[in-house]
Symmetry: C2
Subunit: 121 residues, 2 copies
């Protein structure tokens, strides 16, 4: 709830599924979503928006077509709009995703990893 | 730079002034700004926007007219638009502020703690 402290570790303890973002807060039309990553996601892009990741625990890779970025705890990375990318994590990584409300996690790629939007934890 | 990892601790080591937000990233028109808080800020509100804080180190208070919220490392809080608030920290607190580009840190209150916008670190 706006105006109240939100403990991210407590919220992370509230779900275990990988690739299943959970909203914890909103700032205007922007959502803050916790996500647990493990394994490899699907290649996709978001035509309409940038997408920010802040890694809270562990390490993730953001693969681009020409290179791979490694993002560890205490680091962040912004994927530019329209740029194809894939996220990966050898071991479970916990991150905060910040992007406008309504963004589909798999972009136009779709598939079985497509998650429901607006699931709060 | 978009698409590159940003190490928040390294960026925090790049400045020491309190109440002087430094931009480290942008997601669309939203800025991620590091700030070091110590002492008490000024009462103010932002008529046009919510304002999100993620505490990285230490603890801060967000005072509202009817209560005070304490926000520690690993916690976040969203101040609703138009709601008067004041931030405080007995000891230095390091936080990430997330809000649209162009928001004045002191809102309409102004005064000597008003910081320049768009200072990157």
């Amino acid at each position: 709830m706006k105006g109240e402290p939100i403990n991210l570790a407590e919220k992370l303890a509230g779900f275990s599924e990988h690739w299943s973002p959970r909203v914890v807060a909103e700032m205007n039309d922007v959502q803050f979503k916790l996500v647990k990553l493990q394994g490899e996601f699907v290649w996709h892009d978001h035509k309409e928006t940038d997408e920010a990741f802040i890694v809270l625990r562990g390490e993730m890779e953001v693969g681009f077509r020409d290179r791979t970025a490694r993002v560890g705890a205490g680091e962040m990375l912004v994927v530019p709009r329209g740029v194809e990318h894939v996220t990966r994590a050898a071991e479970e990584c916990q991150a905060l995703v910040i992007e406008p409300r309504g963004v589909k996690n798999t972009g136009d790629a779709g598939g079985k990893l497509t998650a429901a939007n607006d699931r709060w934890v």
